[in-house]
Subunit: 106 residues, 2 copies
DNA sequence: ACAATATGTGGCTATTTTGCCAAATATGAT
DNA sequence: ATCATATTTGGCAAAATAGCCACATATTGT
């Protein structure tokens, strides 16, 4: 593997890892419906403001979202829209295995 | 969010998290070319046999791969083929942001 | 039964991740 | 200037993860 290939692999893994947390995945699903500010996400998530903010920065670092400041608010937007598609695909794969479902959800 | 919705969210996050490690992502990319045994993967990855085995079990637990024992070998097969598609999509998203690329790959 | 090959597991340490709190920063309103 | 609102950051302790070693298990061939 070349250095560039390795770098790309790591970057892809970083993006996937960012999606690999229930709270962050939920955020991305919410963002897929349209941009929203941090405060709006905090309302929909049972976690500290600072926790939400840190999760968002993980998504940003991974290149999955971008921000725009308007007034005192910061709006987050989903960058890779294909992410939405994929989540659906993963969902299908999981549902296919209905009998393993309960176990996987643990 | 209902309990079932929450369970599905957690299961999806688990699958994404499983993909979110360079070694496991590489394994999945290799498996997308066709099934292969653990020993074959060990040859392509610079890590201990036990490490490779554990990574594979993470992928299995997440429902992404399935196994078949033949003789003394255990063959792993990619279950969610859409995963391949998605990796391409993530790759595109990453490449789009060429100027951020070097930073993301860190 | 014994040896060889292939794989999985237990245990351990180092590292990373989470999530909360408190404090810092930024922007707009009074 | 002061205050309120929105967001980020630093710090910390608990939990999860990664990777190696040694050992256990399974299968095949002799």
């Amino acid at each position: 593997m070349t250095g560039a290939e390795r770098s790309l692999l790591v970057a892809k893994a970083k993006a996937l890892k960012a999606l690999g947390h229930p709270t962050r995945l939920f955020m991305v699903e919410e963002l897929s419906k349209g941009e929203c500010c941090v405060c709006s996400l905090v309302e929909r998530i049972d976690a500290d403001f600072s926790t939400v903010s840190k999760h968002l920065s993980v998504l940003k670092e991974a290149g999955l979202v971008e921000i725009e400041k308007r007034g005192q608010k910061v709006f987050y937007r989903l960058r890779a829209t294909c992410v939405t598609q994929f989540i659906g695909c993963i969902e299908t794969a999981i549902r296919e295995n209905a009998e393993r479902y309960a176990k996987l959800a643990r």
